[in-house]
């Protein structure tokens, strides 16, 4: 173990929180799609990666403002989500295994397609908010603070949308009783499409923020997919609070363990932690049986 000062420790906690909030954006979409359309969206990581590359393309190659590029990316990815739902997942609605394999096929196709288009080398989006802010002796980039801010606001908006708005309530009702929803005039297909669009848009934001603050390469999707899966099962399916808590736990473990125990522990610890938590609570922290 290394000797670490409290400042370094605090810094690692802050980094972990930043990581955690970006993971949460990614995992919220996965959890939403999984609980509403019952699809394990394996290509969600690639939507996230594609979102980052679209933002890169518009902000670096075409020279647009970064936030405008994020907005374009979000809209494009929402449309992509709709397309995926309509042409790929809708016809496999009741088949969990088949839809999962189609998602895996999409994952392989999109990943290698983007690698062909943009090349295998990592890209960089210049920081959208240069400079840093000091908190208790630690330095944290202002772009990361803005990223966390965006992430928190979007999570709250999603929470409000799902709990307060008519469409949000319809969305949560759709997976519970299909026939009853049809009788009430809620189309489960439209709700699935809505979930895919929202989920993909959130992934695009997460990807773009990740791409501008930490890494941007064509394999970021696979890493993010694994993190997203871990968060979804850690928090428990169908629980927004679970996703937020799971994401923060994972982010903190990633950030703190790396600094305190070194890289070996950092790659094993999160996996081990999730295995232990799932063994103790088989439905995740906040999960419940449908």
């Amino acid at each position: 173990m290394f000797e670490i000062s409290s400042v370094v420790f605090l810094q690692s906690i802050l980094n972990g929180l930043v990581l955690g909030w970006i993971y949460i954006l990614m995992a919220l979409g996965m959890s939403l799609i999984l609980s509403i359309t019952n699809i394990l969206q394996f290509s969600h990581g690639e939507v996230y990666m594609l979102g980052a590359y679209v933002a890169y393309y518009f902000s670096v190659v075409l020279g647009l403002n970064f936030f405008a590029a994020i907005l374009i990316s979000v809209m494009l990815m929402a449309v992509l989500g709709l397309v995926l739902e309509r042409f790929f997942f809708r016809r496999l609605r009741a088949e969990f295994l088949s839809s999962m394999i189609v998602a895996l096929g999409l994952m392989i196709t999109i990943q290698s397609g983007v690698t062909l288009g943009f090349g295998i080398n990592p890209k960089a989006i210049p920081s959208f908010a240069p400079g840093s802010i000091g908190i208790l002796g630690t330095r944290i980039g202002s772009d990361r603070i803005i990223a966390v801010g965006i992430s928190v606001v979007l999570t709250l908006l999603l929470f409000l949308f799902l709990k307060r708005s008519k469409y949000g309530l319809a969305l949560t009702a759709a997976p519970q009783h299909r026939e009853a929803c049809i009788l009430l005039g809620i189309s489960p297909d439209h709700m699935s499409a809505l979930a895919m669009a929202i989920g993909s848009a959130l992934a695009a934001v997460g990807g773009a923020l990740m791409g501008s603050t930490l890494v941007l390469n064509t394999f970021m999707g696979s890493t993010a997919l694994l993190k997203g899966l871990i968060i979804v099962v850690l928090g428990g399916m169908g629980s927004l609070l679970g996703v937020v808590v799971g994401g923060l736990i994972l982010g903190l473990v990633d950030g703190v363990v790396l600094v305190v125990f070194g890289p070996v522990a950092a790659s094993v610890a999160p996996l081990l932690l999730v295995v232990v938590i799932l063994v103790v609570k088989p439905m995740g922290l906040f999960g419940h049986e449908f």
């Binding site: 394999i101 189609v102 999409l106 799932l278």
Partner: protein, 328 residues
């Protein structure tokens, strides 16, 4: 699923086995024998995962258990001075024991929770091999893994395993044996109970079936054969490395899952056919280089959409089309 075996099926299988036995006679290229040996290992893997899937649980820890079988068998021979013939089954046995030990806590989690648990456990196994440098060579890899010792049949022959051809036959024999065991198991009372659990686990429990132990048994059997496949892989490659993009990375587990469903998970032959075709296809598309993954992904989606029962259903579809055209 009819329990009566059709004579045509037996005939097709026999012809196929004879064909496989004759392959090295007209295929001299050691490259293709290497590819076919990898196909054989994938077939064992996919049949094992299919056996676990009989209980309704998807294991994504294939690569991890394969790594465990491979490294343990290699180390039994290199450090423990064991014969390869003893080390390979021991590697499988170790995987089965670990599977029983892990199965007890893991099987409380169902569905995707179980899949993610096994995926993460597999990654932990791989990372252990990656970081435990003194034992496994770490990032440098474990090299110099010996081939199986020659078998001496007094007065008849001495079979050595230093060429691709002899190893091809060894893998073929192990694959056929494993498939036979797994097939008999899936068609037995145990296999019937497994499928009962997949359909309705609560109902199965209510008629006195010990759901937990049957699931653990399936998991252990699957992991045993995955371990055997890994051990064969180790003595075949002579070199093991546990990097994320290698054979022990989580993509192997995902690909095995794809083979299973694309082949058709409803029948025993489906996953086997899926593994054979989908492992050979990228070799056929080799000239296309970087476009291969795109073609593979698109093909997988295409097959799921247009052959929902998998590739194995294709002959039956042709038959029913034929009947429609010709008339009954």
């Amino acid at each position: 699923m009819s329990s009566k075996r059709k004579p045509t099926n037996t005939l097709i299988i026999l012809v196929f086995i004879v064909f496989l036995l004759l392959v090295p006679v007209f295929l001299k290229s050691s490259y293709w024998l290497h590819v076919l040996s990898i196909v054989g290992i994938n077939v064992i893997l996919v049949a094992s995962v299919h056996t676990i899937w009989c209980t309704g649980e998807l294991s994504l820890g294939t690569a991890g258990f394969m790594a465990m079988g491979a490294y343990s068998s290699a180390l039994f021979v290199m450090r423990g001075e064991l014969s390869v013939w003893g080390a390979v089954p021991l590697g499988g046995l170790l995987c089965a024991i670990v599977a029983v030990a892990l199965g007890y806590p893991f099987m409380r989690a169902k569905g995707i929770y179980f899949s993610i648990l096994t995926l993460l456990t597999g990654e932990i196994f791989r990372l252990t091999a990656w970081y435990y440098r003194s034992l496994t060579g770490g990032p440098l890899g474990l090299s110099g893994i010996p081939s199986p010792e020659p078998i001496k049949i007094p007065g008849i022959a001495l079979i050595t395993f230093d060429s691709k051809i002899s190893y091809y036959y060894l893998i073929l024999v192990v694959v056929l044996l494993s498939l036979l065991i797994l097939f008999r198991l899936q068609k037995s009372q145990v296999g019937f109970t497994w499928r009962t659990i997949r359909e309705r686990d609560n109902l199965a429990a209510s008629v006195g079936i010990n759901v937990l132990w049957y699931k653990i048994f399936a998991f252990a059997v699957g992991c045993f054969f995955i371990g055997i496949a890994g051990a064969l892989f180790a003595h075949f490659m002579h070199l093991l490395a546990a990097d994320a993009s290698g054979k022990f990375g989580m993509f192997t587990s995902i690909y095995i899952l794809i083979y299973m469903v694309v082949g058709g998970e409803k029948k025993f032959a489906g996953p086997v056919i899926g593994a054979i075709i989908l492992t050979l296809l990228p070799e056929v598309f080799r000239p296309m280089q970087e476009y291969r993954p795109i073609v593979f992904g698109a093909l997988v989606i295409f097959i799921i959409f247009f052959m929902p029962q998998g590739i194995v259903d294709l002959p039956y579809r042709f038959l029913s089309w034929g009947r429609k055209i010709i008339g009954p």
